[in-house]
């Protein structure tokens, strides 16, 4: 079968973008990569039933779009992190507000009697139990 072999300059093309491009071709070709000096050697062997006519050009075009994607992702990294951070922070704070909304609007109201000392609580209980036993 027709094997297509060509080289890419590794100073221009990143290995990550080559991997991404290869991934797009894996269904149609058997791909072997090698590196000699500063060149990445790509060899594509078409699987049965596929014709390798415009493959090299197609591969290079796909590579270009992956490079562009990579560059955009790099440029937008901080913005994306900021947006995700904001989204997570806002959802987390609303959950906290919701929780406090259920428990009571103010912690000073102390609905669970957390601020009352243990002795006082015990006295309250014993008084209650005393009343019950009298009944």
């Amino acid at each position: 079968m027709n094997k297509i072999v060509f080289s890419l300059n590794s100073e221009i093309v990143s290995l990550e973008s080559v991997y991404s491009t290869c991934y797009a071709f894996v269904d149609r070709f058997y791909i072997y990569l090698d590196k000699k000096n500063k060149n990445i050697i790509v060899s594509l062997q078409p699987k049965e039933g596929f014709i390798a006519k415009t493959t090299e050009g197609e591969f290079r075009n796909e590579l270009l779009s992956n490079l562009l994607r990579e560059k955009i992702a790099k440029n937008n990294l901080k913005i994306r992190e900021y947006i995700i951070g904001q989204a997570l922070y806002s959802s987390a704070s609303s959950e906290i507000d919701e929780f406090f909304g259920k428990a009571g609007n103010d912690y000073q109201e102390d609905p669970l009697d957390i601020a009352i000392p243990w002795e006082e609580k015990k006295d309250k209980k014993s008084k209650k139990s005393g009343k019950k036993s009298k009944k």
Binding site: L15, Y19, S20, C22, Y23, V26, Y30, I31, Y32, L33, D34, K35, I40, Q45
Partner: protein
Amino acid sequence: MILKLNKEIYPEKALKRAIKFYGKVADFRLKEQKDYFLVSGYLEKEDAELVKNEFLNFVLEVIRQ
């Protein structure tokens, strides 16, 4: 079957994962030789080419993951 894979392109971790996955197909061995990893495995002549090619593609997929 012997595959010569450049260390700068094929990470060892991905190769080991692929070898583990292909363990049912053949008994692969991984060796190092300067800038290359050597993957060797005994296969019938008829199957060798296909398995070799599929293995290479699989390694690329593992790298991408």
